[in-house]
C-alpha cells in the first residue's frame, strides 16, 4: 500500500490521519478550483518514524524534564531546538526510506520544484489557527531534499510557538502528530492572501499582494498592498498602496529577495480586473465550503492558484493576553533582522545612552522636592519608554541567534544542538570589556604592595594617581553597577578584594577564526553569502543581547538614583510633596513569558532537604565550592572567589562577579540568558532554570555543579 495519498483520494474520513489543511486543499481540487498538484503523507508515518528511531522516548524525556508552566520562552526554545535536532540527526529507517522513495519517484520527485508543508490534525479550525507556527519548505528539488524537508516539517510540531499555543489551548503536545503535504511549486508573478470576511469589518473582503512568492508577505519581509472590496458588489472600497522595490524569487538554492525589474518597480501588484477575479474566487470558495476563509494564493501566467485555505479564526482575535501574535513576530526574516540591527545600533542604544547621560548630569541633591518629584516621574516615563522598545526591538533581535542556530544545525547536524553558540563568542561584549578593565586595575594594585596595604588600611586614593584616573573613567562608563546594589559600590574595596584573589582572568580568547573557517568549509558555495549574512546577524544579536541590557541598566540607574534621593529625604523627614510618589513595585513585567510563570517558590520545611537539583546545562564543565546565594543585593560584596554563585538571574550589571565564581546557578532558565552567555565566555560551569535554587540552597552549602548535565548536588552530610 502506498503511503502518499493524492489529493484526489483524500476524503473527510481520512481527516484524522491527514489534518484539516490537506482535507481543505483536496476538497477544493475535487470541486474544480485550481490547486497545485499534491500528495499527503499521513500522521501514521510520523508515528512510525518516532517509534522506529526511538525518538518517542527522547521527546517524552524533553517534555517531562520540567513543568511547562515554569519554562520561560528561552527554555521553550531550547526544548524545541533539542527536539528539532533529534529529528535532523536521525537517519531514516531503511525500510521506511525505501518505501517513501518509491512513492516519491511516481510523482513529486519528478516535479521541477516542490513545497513541503505541515498539516497537523486539529491544526486549523474556526477556533484555533496554527498559521505561522509550523514550518514549510519551498523550492525543493529531488527526493532526498523532500525527505529532509519532511523531517524539518515534522520537527516543527515542536516549535516553541506551537508548544506554547497547544498549551494555551489545553492540548497535550505528547498526543499530537503531524501529517505533511507535498505539493508542486507554482512560481507566481504576484502572490498574496485573501480574507473573504475582513477581520475588522465583516462587510468587506480584504486582500493583500506582493510581487513574487508569497513567503515574503507571510514572514513580513515585504510590506504588501492592501485592498478592500464590498462583499455585496465587489466594488473596491479602500486601497493601501506601498512603493514596491523588491520581490522574493526562486534561486538555485531556495529563495532570495531581488530588485524588481523596470516594468514592476513602483507599480501595484493589484489592478481592478485582477481584484474582480479575486473577489469572484472568494465568493465561489466561500459558497463551496460554506464558511468565511483565509486564503493564500498565487497568480502565474494570469491563472489564480489556491495555495491554502483555512477557516477564519474567530475566538482568539481579540482575546486579551493572547501572546501568539507577539510570538509570531519573533520569527523574523534575515532582511528584517538586518534592518533591526541597524536601528538598534544606530538609534536605540545611543538613545538609551543619551538619556542615561542626561540623567547623570542632573545634580539630584540640589533639586527642590517638587523638582525632584518631577524629575523622578520623568525618569520613570523614560524607563517605561525604553522597556517598551526593549520588548519590541531588543527581544526580537535576540532571535537572530535562532536563525543562525537553525541554519547551522540544518547544515552541520551536530550532536549538540547548541554547538553554534561557539561561533558567536565576542570580545566586544561590554561585560567582558568591563571585567577586563577591572582586572587591569586589580593587577596594577596587586603589583603595588604598598598601595594595596594603604587601601586596606582605609586610605583614600590620591588625586591624580594612575589608578584614581582609571577608576573615574570606569565609574563614568559603567555607572549601571550601582543600580544592582541599590547603594554606592565602594569600587576601591572591591578592587582590593579582586587584587587579593586569584589574578587569573579566565577568558582565554577562543580560536574564533578557526571555528569560522571550519564552518564555512562546510557551507555549499552557493549559500556562503547567505551564511555570512546570517552569522553576522547572529553575532550582532549575541552581542546586543548582553549590551542592550547594560544600556538599559544605565537608564535604570538614573531612576534608581532619583528613588534613593527621595528615600533619603523621606528617612530624614524632609519629604513634603514626595510621599506616595514611589510605587510599591519598581517596574512592571515586560512580558509574562519573559519570566517564569511560577516566580515564587515556597521555602520548604526544615526537615525537607534538597540533595540534588536538575536544571538546564548552560555552560559545560564541573566544579565544586561553597554556595553564595544572592537573594539580597547587600550580600553581593560578601562574594568570594571560588564560591558558587546562586541567583535569580545574573543581571548584566552583575557580570563582573562571574569570572571569580567556581560555577553559576540561575533560577531563570535558558542557554541564552546572560549568566549562561558570560559563563561560556569564561569557561565556568553553569546550570540554569532551577526555580527553587535560591530558596533551597543556603549560602555556605557545599555544591557540585555539573554543567554538562545540568545537575547540582548539595552535600548535606549524613545529618
Amino acid at each position: 500500500m502506498r503511503w502518499l495519498i493524492p489529493f484526489a483520494d483524500v476524503s473527510r474520513a481520512t481527516v484524522k490521519n491527514l489534518g484539516g489543511k490537506a482535507l481543505m486543499l483536496a476538497r477544493l481540487q475535487q470541486e474544480g478550483f485550481l490547486v497545485p498538484a499534491g500528495y499527503c503523507l499521513p500522521v501514521s508515518v510520523y508515528h512510525e518514524f518516532l517509534v522506529e528511531t526511538g525518538l518517542d522516548a527522547f521527546i517524552a524525556m524533553e517534555l517531562q524534564r520540567k513543568d511547562f508552566r515554569e519554562m520561560r520562552w528561552e527554555e521553550l526554545w531550547d526544548v524545541s531546538l533539542r527536539i528539532r535536532n533529534h529529528f535532523l540527526t536521525r537517519t531514516w529507517p531503511k525500510a521506511m526510506k525505501e518505501k517513501l522513495l518509491k512513492d516519491l519517484s511516481e510523482g513529486p520527485a519528478n516535479w521541477s520544484s516542490v513545497a513541503v508543508r505541515s498539516t497537523a490534525p486539529g491544526e486549523d479550525s474556526a477556533s484555533q489557527s496554527f498559521a505561522g507556527l509550523h514550518e514549510s519548505r519551498v523550492m525543493l528539488q529531488g527526493a532526498e531534499a523532500i525527505l529532509e524537508a519532511i523531517r524539518i516539517v515534522w520537527a516543527s510540531l515542536w516549535s516553541d510557538g506551537a508548544l506554547l499555543y497547544r498549551h494555551e489551548l489545553g492540548l497535550d503536545p505528547g498526543k499530537s502528530g503531524m501529517a505533511v503535504i507535498i505539493q508542486e511549486m507554482i512560481i507566481g508573478d504576484v502572490s498574496g492572501i485573501l480574507f473573504t470576511r475582513a477581520p475588522q469589518d465583516g462587510s468587506v473582503m480584504m486582500a493583500e499582494a506582493v510581487w513574487g512568492l508569497n513567503q515574503a508577505l507571510v514572514d513580513g519581509s515585504i510590506e504588501p498592498d492592501r485592498w478592500q472590496f464590498s462583499r455585496a458588489t465587489g466594488t473596491v472600497t479602500e486601497k493601501h498602496e506601498v512603493v514596491h522595490t523588491v520581490a522574493l524569487r526562486p534561486t538555485t538554492h531556495g529563495t532570495e529577495l531581488s530588485p524588481l525589474g523596470e516594468a514592476q518597480r513602483g507599480r501595484s501588484p493589484f489592478d481592478t480586473v485582477f481584484c474582480q477575479e479575486l473577489f469572484q474566487a472568494g465568493c465561489q470558495l466561500e459558497a463551496s465550503l460554506g464558511q468565511a476563509l483565509d486564503i493564500e494564493w498565487t497568480s502565474s501566467n494570469k491563472s489564480l492558484h489556491i495555495l491554502q485555505a483555512r477557516p477564519i479564526t474567530t475566538s482568539l482575535q481579540s482575546k486579551d493576553g493572547d501572546e501568539r501574535p507577539w510570538y509570531l513576530s519573533l520569527h523574523r526574516s534575515l532582511d528584517n533582522l538586518e534592518a533591526l540591527r541597524m536601528e538598534l545600533e544606530q538609534q536605540v542604544l545611543p538613545g538609551m545612552d543619551h538619556d542615561a547621560e542626561k540623567m547623570s548630569a542632573v545634580e539630584l541633591s540640589q533639586l527642590s522636592n517638587r523638582k525632584l518629584a518631577e524629575e523622578y516621574l520623568n525618569r520613570r516615563g523614560i524607563l517605561d519608554k525604553w522597556l517598551s522598545i526593549y520588548k519590541d526591538k531588543c527581544i526580537p533581535m535576540a532571535h537572530g541567534l535562532r536563525l543562525f542556530g537553525e541554519f547551522y544545525n540544518d547544515l552541520i547536524k551536530p550532536e549538540d544542538p547548541h554547538e553554534f553558540i561557539n561561533l558567536l563568542h565576542s570580545d566586544d561584549l561590554l561585560a567582558v570589556q568591563r571585567n577586563r578593565q577591572l582586572h587591569e586595575m586589580a593587577e596594577l594594585l596587586r603589583k603595588d604592595h604598598r598601595l594595596l596595604q594603604q587601601l586596606k588600611d582605609g586610605c583614600e586614593l590620591s588625586e591624580g594617581s594612575n589608578l584614581k584616573g582609571m577608576l573615574e573613567v570606569f565609574n563614568h562608563e559603567y555607572s549601571g553597577i550601582n543600580w544592582v546594589l541599590h547603594q554606592d559600590l565602594d569600587l576601591t574595596s572591591w578592587l582590593v578584594k579582586l587584587a587579593e584573589q586569584d589574578g587569573d582572568d579566565k577568558n582565554e580568547g577562543l580560536k574564533q577564526a578557526d571555528r569560522e573557517h571550519a564552518f564555512f568549509a562546510q557551507v555549499p558555495e552557493a549559500e556562503s553569502g547567505m551564511a555570512g549574512r546570517i552569522l553576522a546577524v547572529a553575532k550582532a544579536s549575541y552581542l546586543l543581547r548582553d549590551n542592550d541590557n547594560l544600556y538599559l541598566g544605565k537608564v535604570r540607574a538614573g531612576v534608581s538614583a532619583a528613588e534613593q534621593e527621595i528615600r533619603k529625604r523621606i528617612d530624614s523627614g524632609a519629604s513634603e510633596g514626595l510621599d506616595k510618589i514611589l510605587p510599591e513595585t519598581t517596574e512592571k513585567k515586560v512580558f509574562s513569558r519573559y519570566e517564569s510563570q511560577r516566580e515564587s517558590v515556597e521555602s520548604p520545611e526544615n526537615w525537607q532537604l534538597a540533595r540534588q537539583l536538575v536544571g538546564q546545562p548552560a555552560g559545560p564543565g564541573v566544579n565544586s565550592g561553597p554556595a553564595r546565594v544572592l537573594n539580597n543585593a547587600s550580600v553581593l560584596t560578601d562574594f568570594k572567589a571560588g564560591e558558587v554563585l546562586v541567583c535569580d538571574a545574573i543581571e548584566p550589571n552583575m557580570t563582573f562577579l562571574a569570572p571569580l565564581a567556581a560555577a553559576i546557578i540561575e533560577r531563570r532558565g535558558g542557554m541564552l540568558v546572560h549568566g549562561a552567555i558570560i559563563a561560556r565566555e569564561y569557561g565556568i560551569p553553569c546550570v540554569t532554570g532551577i526555580p527553587e535554587a535560591t530558596k533551597v540552597i543556603k549560602s555556605g552549602d557545599q555544591l557540585t555543579v555539573d554543567g554538562y548535565l545540568g545537575i547540582v548536588t548539595i552535600d548535606r552530610g549524613d545529618g
Binding site: 540533595r611 540534588q612 564541573v622 555539573d706 554538562y708 548536588t713
Partner: protein
C-alpha cells in the same frame, strides 16, 4: 539449567525491564537507587551509569558489593502472585574511559534516550560482575542461581 523455566524467567526479566533498584552500602546503612540497566546476553554482567557527584557513586567507591532488584510488579494486590522479581548480587567496578565506546554501544541500544547522559564527562559507567541471582515468584518461591557454577 539453561532450559529451566525459572532461568528463562530471569532472562526475560533482565531483557524486558529497563530499570532496577540498586542497593549499595552507605557507611553500614542500606542505600537504594533506581538505575537504568543493561545486561550482557549471557547475563554475567550488568551495566548502569551514574554521575560522580551522587551518593551511590561515593558508596560504590567505598564498597563495591551491590544488589540490583529487577521486577515486573503491577502495583495491584491481585497481581501479587503474578509478579516476579530477580535480584542480582555481585561486585560493581567503574569501567575505564577506553572501554566506554564498546560498552555504550550495547547500553545505548537498550536506552537510546540516555545518550547525552552517558556521554557526559561527569558520568561513570559501572559493570556489575554477577555472582548470583535470586528469583522470587508466586509470592514466596525463591530460587538461587550461582553464576560460578553456571556452564553457559
Amino acid at each position: 539449567m539453561a532450559d529451566a523455566e525459572e532461568w528463562r524467567l530471569v532472562l526475560k526479566l533482565l531483557k524486558e525491564q529497563a530499570f532496577g533498584v540498586l542497593g549499595t552500602n552507605h557507611k553500614g546503612s542500606a542505600y537504594a537507587s533506581l538505575v537504568a540497566f543493561a545486561a550482557t546476553a549471557d547475563v554475567r554482567f550488568i551495566y548502569f551509569a551514574t554521575t560522580r557527584a551522587t551518593r551511590k557513586y561515593l558508596n560504590l567507591a567505598a564498597d563495591d558489593q551491590v544488589a540490583l532488584l529487577v521486577d515486573n510488579r503491577a502495583d495491584q494486590a491481585l497481581a501479587l502472585y503474578e509478579a516476579a522479581a530477580v535480584t542480582a548480587y555481585g561486585t560493581a567496578t567503574e569501567i575505564a574511559a577506553a572501554e566506554h565506546a564498546e560498552v555504550l554501544q550495547s547500553y545505548l541500544a537498550r536506552h537510546p534516550q540516555l545518550k547525552t547522559f552517558v556521554s557526559a564527562p561527569t558520568t561513570a559507567i559501572f559493570r556489575i560482575k554477577v555472582e548470583s541471582y535470586h528469583l522470587v515468584q508466586r509470592f514466596q518461591n525463591v530460587t538461587e542461581f550461582r553464576m560460578n557454577r553456571c556452564a553457559g
